[in-house]
Amino acid sequence: MTKKRAVENIVAPITGIAAFIAIWWISAVAIGKSIILPTPAETLSGFFSLLADKTFYAAIGMTIARTLLAFVIAFFLACIFAFLSEICVFFKKAFSPITVIMRVLPTISVILIVLIWVRSRTAPILITMLVIFPMLYTTVLHAAEGVDPRLVEMCRAYRFSRKKILFYLYLPSMTPSVLTGISITLSFSVKLTVAAEVLASTQMSMGRFMKQSSAYIETDVLLAWTLAAILLGFLLEGLVLLLRKLYVRRYHEK
């Protein structure tokens, strides 16, 4: 890595984080009331005390499970609908206004409506699914549309079966852009699931513990849970981006 790239890739992000923590610290000291804004040290201490608590892991585990379940279902449906749109222009045009409505629908409306319909245990899953579905549908559809038409023509010339075209051209070509979309949507899903858990007061969830700490004005604990949610989103997004990087390096980079 050249010196310039090292500065850009390592030093710059660390500087940004350090500046953020410094502003936070100065603000917390200036306010002087940890009930309103605890210092980063107090938040970190709250985070470590959470780590010693077994329910912390159970809550995180359940939130991850809800997030991933919602994500997997939404992704599966997005693939099916994108496939139908790719092979049938009429379906694509007919489905287009529905995805637009789903995309512009205020998230809070989705949450409130779903909370009327289903129980608090399943509400976060359905809410996350409904909100991320149009994002994933668009990602998969754009990835399919981005497949090199010259290669599609080559496959047709050599009489590839549809199955062969799907597995040897479409899926591998779509993987990099789909993985980018997945990484963004996955961390967004964590935020959504937690927000839905807060409003639904879902048993054994990060959202419920956050709601409790807000009700008892335990700001340091609330921020500690927030830190846990950030790390969770960061971890999921990072894992997918790492996968993408390895994939692109193997097949695409000269």
Binding site: R150, E153, M154, A157, Y158, Y168, L169, P172, R250, E253
Partner: protein, 237 residues
């Protein structure tokens, strides 16, 4: 396409894109198991002719054959090795397909590259793999669309040699589109020139060329005469 003993006939080909007529009642005969080179100015319909013969045009009226298509660019699948890019166009068990592909790569002197991905191949090597794919595919017709375009002269000559060497070991009816007169003279059994007419492409020139390929070289009076004849015709278009 109608097949007779020594000739394949393309009859009454009609192709149009929206309002533009590319071919209208166009007919051409291709000597069976021989190479027909197609020359002509840009936009005269050379590539469209190949696509129509391969069945790649939805609005073409000519019955198409099972064809191998070697494109101007390599069009290799980026996620498959050179070997698998060849094996994938074959039918049968995987081991048999890979064995046939391996032999073809060896014939094209590409054995060392069989595990390389397209991004790891040089332009010339990738195009050689693409030609190997076209030759390996079991088809009635081999279609080549300026397969050596954009490559340096030395590489072009080497690739032509590889192609001729393999093609002569298993001749098949071939339509070879090129802009290079010399390339056409080196490979063709028949040369045709397409022109742009008011009602689509028309056949301006048709000539069988029977001189043995091994003796074709610049400086040979027959080669030079043919070269000037085609050059003058193309310049006048």
């Amino acid at each position: 396409m109608r097949n007779e003993k020594d000739t394949c006939f393309i009859e009454n080909l009609n192709v149009c894109f929206e309002d533009k007529v590319v071919f209208e009642n166009f007919s051409l005969s291709l000597p069976r198991d021989r190479i027909t080179c197609v020359l002509g100015p840009s936009g005269s319909g050379k590539t469209t002719l190949l696509k129509a013969l391969a069945g790649l045009l939805p609005n073409s009226t000519v019955p198409y054959a099972k064809a191998s298509f070697v494109f101007q660019d390599d069009r290799l699948l980026p996620h498959l090795s050179a070997l698998d890019n060849l094996a994938i166009v074959l039918e049968g068990k995987k081991a048999d397909r890979r064995a046939r592909a391996r032999k073809m790569l060896a014939d094209m002197e590409l054995s060392d590259s069989e595990d390389l991905f397209p991004k790891e191949l040089s332009g010339g090597m990738a195009q050689r793999v693409a030609i190997a794919r076209g030759l390996l595919f079991d088809s009635d017709l081999l279609l080549m669309d300026e397969p050596f375009k954009g490559l340096d002269l030395a590489l072009q000559e080497r690739l032509i040699r590889y192609f001729i060497k393999y093609w002569e070991s298993a001749p098949r009816t071939t339509v070879f589109v090129t802009h290079s007169i010399l390339e056409a003279i080196l490979v063709a059994d028949k040369i045709v020139i397409l022109g742009k007419g008011e009602k689509g492409a028309n056949l301006l020139y048709e000539k069988e060329f029977t001189m043995p390929r091994a003796s074709r070289a610049l400086g040979d009076p027959e080669v030079d005469a043919l070269r000037s004849e085609i050059h003058d015709l193309l310049i006048s278009l």
